[in-house]
């Protein structure tokens, strides 16, 4: 029998009723996350990709316990988190940490880096006495910050260095899982690569698993073993990190890929953009069929009527699209006659 995965999320839903005093009644429900399932093994990375409002951040926050799910379960190491006692939950929190897009707003400006790092070590009783200071030094070394950083304040650091502090603080708890919410989105591209490489090295050294939330396909592709594409609170496609963007079958994933620019002018001229009409629909009382049906260029009546299940489509690949078998022909991404290049052909 195989051991349970590090993290298992089953039929997770986060619904938020909208406003409504007694005089107006309820105005609908925001279905931020609407029936999501996935598993993440220890030491691996699952990338969650999607556009604003698709629910990826809410999902990440629910995993670490910052949001309370409406229904469904989050299971860490085989134990359902909702069923745990208060003391156990505190221990679970240590095992799951989070890093944010803007580390500055998540760091206490009045605490030195050393104090920021020492706090969780003491709080969780991970080291005592001089062991705390030694651990702080070790953490700074792990994220390539100089030892002198210990006595300085967050505002004295650049964006990339602040993100290193955020990472060190998450690691101070010795977590098994780190939810990374757009950790490199606010950084300049040359710094972005530094942080991506750092996260990868830390995973190799410490065996920590990442739930990596992002909107940039290149970033998510490079850090993830597996990728899940979200749209309007649901996972619409899932596949191996190395191949998903090459073999995408959901109409939305294909549109997303076709819209994501590639830093190669010759390749860009060969590409065909699938220009979607309109904006993503609101997650307030979303449509009952496929969440993408309203904007999908190849939707058929069934798409509006019936929600397609996330079904296996070959090894390591699952798609929730009624037309998954035809999308590469229906929605080509390369212009006709163009030579197929790595990863851009359908």
């Amino acid at each position: 029998m195989t051991a349970p995965p590090l993290l298992e999320v089953a039929d997770l839903r986060l619904h938020f009723p909208l406003g409504g005093g007694f005089a107006f009644g309820r105005r609908g429900t925001v279905k931020a996350v609407d029936g999501v399932d996935f598993r993440l093994e220890a030491g691996r990375t699952l990338g969650l990709v999607g556009e604003s409002g698709c629910g990826k951040s809410t999902l990440g926050r629910a995993v670490v316990g910052l949001e309370t799910p409406t229904s469904g379960s989050v299971t860490l190491g085989g134990r359902n988190l909702a069923a745990r006692s208060r003391a156990e939950r505190d221990a679970d929190r240590r095992r799951m940490q989070m890093i944010f897009q803007d580390p500055f707003s998540s760091l206490n400006p009045r605490m030195t880096v050393g104090q920021t790092l020492a706090e969780p070590i003491r709080l969780h009783g991970l080291r005592e006495g001089p062991g705390v200071a030694a651990r702080v030094r070790e953490l700074l070394g792990l994220v390539d910050l100089p030892e002198g950083a210990r006595d300085r304040y967050p505002h004295e650091f650049s964006g990339g260095q602040r993100q290193r502090i955020g990472i060190a603080r998450a690691l101070a708890c010795e977590p098994e899982l780190v939810v990374c919410d757009e950790p490199v989105s606010a950084l300049d591209v040359s710094i972005q690569a530094q942080i991506m490489r750092l996260l990868k090295r830390l995973q190799d050294e410490l065996g920590v698993a990442y739930l990596f939330i992002g909107h940039e396909l290149g970033v998510v592709r490079q850090v993830s073993d597996e990728i899940a594409v979200m749209y309007l609170g649901q996972i619409v496609e899932r596949g191996a990190g190395r191949t998903l963007f090459r073999e995408a079958r959901h109409a939305y994933t294909r549109a997303l890929i076709s819209a994501a620019p590639i830093p190669d002018p010759r390749l860009e001229r060969l590409r065909r953009r699938i220009i979607l009409k309109g904006d993503p629909p609101s997650p307030i009382d979303p449509p009952s069929g496929c969440p993408f049906a309203g904007r999908c260029p190849v939707a058929i009546p069934r798409c509006h009527a019936e929600r397609p299940p996330l079904e296996r489509f070959g090894p390591d690949h699952a798609v929730a699209c009624w037309r998954a078998g035809e999308t590469p022909e229906l929605l080509p991404i390369l212009a006709q006659g163009a030579p197929a290049r790595d990863g851009t052909s359908g």
Partner: protein
């Protein structure tokens, strides 16, 4: 073809408490009618300041240039009133965040009709008709109804369309787009880039696209200028610069973009961070981060742009010209 815009030796210096801050140093560039020039660089490279200075939107005395010729006219000597006439009528501007550049208390329609009344002297009725027409040009659904909408009632993508409508209302000869899609989702970004390209073709505008996103630039630009620490360090036709970057910063930047379409390894990173503009190193400002730096790189003044391939490809690096290949 004669240039639509020609800038020579632009210097922008801000007075700060810590002393004069050189934001832009010795920038020269040309834009031809109908052409798209991309200016790329990271935060603080001076790419946005370059364009703001052109528009006279910087504090008085901050910008100085040997020459700025727009459409045959030297605009360095223009007074504020004449510059204001130029902005909006001849030069349209689109910023990253339309929420801060649109007026929140005026309807989209009012902000558009204002353009026609102010710059073209149209009557209220004629301005209104022109405004509706412009809204449909930018793909705003039901443009007549949208006239009465306030900016906050629009989605991010629709707001950017409204901003573009205002920018192109008077059919400018030049459109300056400063990170026009940075705040937008990628599928909306594709809509907006598509729209700018379509209007550019229709009006024959020159476009200056300021961006940090090399992917966006690859898809839209004819030529590219790469800025680092206030200077243009490489400039040339888009294919030439992407195929054979000659300044180590440019190649480093290209190698640091994570690709989703290739089986490449993790992107390479450039060590260190851009220098503090108040304490830039002598000589080439990229020197401390450059793997190929040598003693001569520290010599002042920093290297000037020099031919780096078939013209008009130029790079500001002392290694250019030596027989060697970079990858």
């Amino acid at each position: 073809m004669s240039a639509l815009l020609s800038i020579r030796d632009l210097e922008v210096t801000f007075a700060t408490e810590a002393g004069p801050l050189p934001a832009v140093q010795g920038v020269s560039l040309d834009v031809a009618p109908g052409e798209t020039l991309a200016i790329v660089g990271e935060s603080g490279s001076g790419k946005s300041v370059t364009m703001l200075s052109l528009l006279g939107l910087l504090p008085a005395g901050a910008a100085r240039a040997r020459q700025v010729v727009f459409d045959g006219q030297d605009i360095t000597a223009l007074d504020e009133a004449r510059l204001r006439g130029l902005r909006g009528r001849e030069i349209g501007i689109v910023f990253q965040d339309p929420m801060t550049s649109l007026n929140p208390v005026l309807t989209v329609g009012r902000q558009l009709t204002e353009m026609f009344e102010l710059h073209q002297g149209l009557s209220r009725g004629a301005a209104r008709a022109a405004a509706v027409e412009t809204l449909s040009l930018v793909g705003m659904p039901s443009p007549k109804e949208r006239m009465a909408t306030y900016p906050h009632q629009l989605s991010g993508g629709m707001r950017q369309r409204a901003m573009i409508a205002i920018a192109v209302a008077c059919r400018p000869k030049l459109l300056i787009a400063d990170e026009p899609t940075t705040a937008l989702d990628v599928t909306i970004q594709a809509q907006i880039l598509d729209l700018i390209a379509r209007i550019q073709e229709e009006l024959g505008m020159g476009v200056i696209m300021i961006s940090h996103d090399l992917g966006v630039v690859a898809g839209v630009a004819d030529r590219i200028a790469v800025m680092y620490a206030g200077r243009i360090v490489e400039i040339g036709p888009i294919d030439a610069v992407f195929d054979a970057p000659r300044m180590p910063y440019t190649s480093g930047l290209l190698a640091s973009v994570p690709r989703y379409d290739l089986d490449a390894d993790m992107p390479r990173s450039i060590p260190g961070t851009p220098p503090d503009p108040l304490a830039r190193p002598s000589g080439c400002a990229f020197r401390p981060r450059c793997a190929e730096a040598r003693a001569a790189c520290a010599a002042s003044p920093p290297p000037a742009l020099r031919p780096a391939g078939p013209p008009p490809h130029e790079a500001a690096c002392i290694l250019v010209g030596e027989e060697r290949e970079r990858t």
